[in-house]
């Protein structure tokens, strides 16, 4: 375990920890609004026992279980969850851009278990690359491509990581927070559509 790895593991905790503080600073709009609370059930304990420090904070937000995991062992954790905890269905895979934090992105995996009728959300803090889970769930193939397309997160081990919704030659990743809503790849538009600008 090198220092660098340690640093990575600790990182996920910090933005999560920072969040309640930020809420407290602002006057809440509605006092009775739901707020995240820490989660500590059998499942999380089993996870922690098995993957130790790679499992970060576990919370319950709006009655939905969220576990932060480190990117290093993501694939092992997913394999374990799929095969032994029976979370056999990857509902969704997406990302959130926390542009002022480090690491910058959260890759969010939404798992579902038919056997237990439960959902589990994994959050993986990543800087710019994340291990691919497309070997575990085929559905991750396109979802990871979309994530790459929209956020520029590289999924290591993906069979054919290329853009899916935007044209292959497009520059920029539109769902990043620093990509303005009016922004576009003007060169591409000029070259391929023959117009100056859509706006």
């Amino acid at each position: 375990m090198t220092d660098e790895q340690k640093k990575e593991e600790q990182k996920p905790a910090s933005p999560e920890a920072a969040k309640p503080a930020a809420v407290a600073a602002k006057p809440p709009a509605k006092p009775a609004g739901p707020a995240p609370e820490p989660l500590d059930n059998e499942q999380v304990r089993r996870l922690r026992a098995r993957f130790a420090a790679t499992i970060g904070e576990a919370t319950l937000d709006r009655k939905q279980a969220i576990v932060v995991v480190a990117r290093e062992r993501l694939r092992d954790i997913c394999q374990y969850l799929r095969d032994e905890e029976k979370f056999d269905f990857l509902t969704d895979l997406t990302a959130v851009d926390w542009y002022d934090r480090s690491p910058r992105f959260h890759v969010v995996l939404n798992l579902y278990s038919f056997a237990r009728n439960e959902r589990l959300r994994l959050k993986v803090p990543v800087a710019d690359s994340c291990p691919s889970v497309s070997g575990l769930w085929s559905t991750a193939n396109w979802l990871e491509r979309e994530c790459f397309d929209m956020f520029g997160i590289v999924f290591e081990g993906h069979p054919s990581l290329k853009r899916i919704l935007l044209p292959d030659e497009w520059k920029g990743h539109p769902l990043r927070k620093d990509y303005d809503i009016l922004k576009q790849d003007t060169d591409w538009v000029r070259e391929n559509l023959g117009i100056e600008s859509g706006q």
């Binding site: 969040k19 930020a22 809420v23 602002k26 809440p28 709009a29 509605k30 009775a32 609004g33 739901p34 707020a35 995240p36 937000d61 709006r62 939905q64 969220i66 056999d88 269905f89 990857l90 509902t91 969704d92 997406t94 959130v96 851009d97 969010v108 939404n110 038919f114 009728n117 959902r119 959300r121 769930w137 085929s138 559905t139 193939n141 396109w142 979802l143 979309e146 929209m150 853009r163 899916i164 919704l165 935007l166 044209p167 539109p174 769902l175 990509y179 809503i181």
Partner: protein, 375 residues
């Protein structure tokens, strides 16, 4: 079209043809483009090229306030706008920690189930048209029209309805709403049987759909497909039962499933879903409770920080909204889990080894809407 010289490179089974279907093709249901690798007429590989209708709906969501964004979701799956609206409104309500009053939930259920029938009718018509039966499409549009008329009377719009508001409904039901819905249900029962008579027992229809595009339950789960496609593969899973929302917990209905996971099973599943939807509507319309239609959500919708994933059983499959709030009036991140997009991913698996004619059958059976695939 591909380059002219491609044709001449085809020597008796030695080389394959690359056939480009779409984005302008009569059977790709919009601007789907499929590149097919053919050996004769047999498909040996495929690639879906999508994004022609990408409008950056998720990006727009991050730049609009919560109520402002509601009309946008109507335009993802634009043939099932009511369902989209329900999913979004409930997701935001859950983020806020409020629940719509019972009357609103009942009306939402009725309208959403009507929308399910409308969406399935559109699917049935176009699917049959793709397989060469040109008549059912007119019949199904006739019934769909009745549903759209109810929508129009209720909220003034037919297609992109924006029927619901965060916290409940904006409009009270109009006078005669119940009668209209009941009349539709009364007429619809024999109509759906009529479509069945045209197709279910039709030998050609059965031959064209049986054992075409088989998706085993294992594959279906692996590929993440949802909705009728998943149920057609024999997985009895429906969010209306698994995580009841709106008022579904109050009603009795069955979840039809298929056995073989082929196109014919998916056809039967959707046909039965229409009947079940009618059953739900009839139960709901008889028991609409009195009361307010809008919960107290405040003038400015400003959910506390946190996140929520809420999904509903849209006509196409699991339609999920993953919303991250940072405590402002705009979502920090708004992700739509599009059932069409993920179901379309199964296309390649389903189409391999089949003929070109089956490709259109499989596109049809997936029931995709490009507005939702591309968002």
């Amino acid at each position: 079209m591909a380059q002219p010289q491609d044709i001449s490179t085809t020597v008796l089974g030695a080389d394959e043809i690359i056939l480009n279907m779409g984005p302008q093709h009569p059977a790709t249901h919009g601007v789907l483009r499929v590149k097919l690798k053919l050996d004769g007429e047999k498909v040996i590989g495929s690639e879906c090229i999508i994004g022609y209708l990408h409008r950056g709906v998720e990006k727009i969501g991050e730049n609009r306030s919560y109520p402002q964004f509601a009309p946008y979701v109507d335009r993802t799956d634009y043939v099932a706008a009511v369902s989209n609206g329900l999913g979004y409104c409930e997701a935001v309500e859950r983020l806020l920690g409020v629940e719509a009053p019972p009357r609103a939930r009942w009306v939402r259920t009725i309208l959403t189930e009507l929308q399910r029938i409308a969406s399935h009718l559109l699917w049935l018509g176009t699917h049959a048209l793709d397989i060469g039966a040109i008549t059912p499409v007119f019949y199904t549009f006739r019934e769909r029209e009745e549903i759209l008329k109810i929508f129009e009377k209720y909220c003034g719009a037919r297609l992109t309805t924006h029927a619901f508001r965060i916290g409940g409904l904006q409009y009270e039901t109009y006078d005669g709403f119940e009668e209209d819905v009941k009349k539709f249900c009364r007429d619809f029962e024999e109509k759906v049987d009529e479509y069945g008579e045209l197709l279910t027992e039709n030998r050609i229809w059965v031959e064209r759909t049986r054992n075409v595009g088989i998706l085993t339950a294992q594959d279906a789960i692996d590929l993440g497909v949802t909705g009728p496609v998943l149920r057609g593969s024999g997985v009895r899973w429906d969010i209306r039962k698994a995580f009841p929302y709106a008022a579904y917990a109050q009603f009795e209905f069955d979840i039809p499933i298929g056995e073989r996971g082929d196109t014919y099973d998916r056809y039967l599943v959707r046909m039965e879903e229409m009947r079940q939807a009618r059953r739900i509507i009839l139960q709901a319309v008889d028991s609409i409770p009195e009361g307010p239609i809008l919960a107290r959500v405040g003038k400015v919708i400003k959910p506390p920080p946190g996140e929520v994933y809420h999904s509903i059983e849209a006509p196409k499959g699991e339609l999920g909204y993953y919303i991250v709030s940072d405590g402002t009036i705009q979502p920090y991140r708004l992700r739509i889990r599009p059932p069409s997009f993920i179901n379309l991913e199964a296309f390649d698996k389903m189409v391999r080894g089949h003929l070109v004619a089956d490709v259109v059958a499989i596109i049809g059976t997936l029931d995709i809407v490009l507005g939702e695939v591309d968002r």
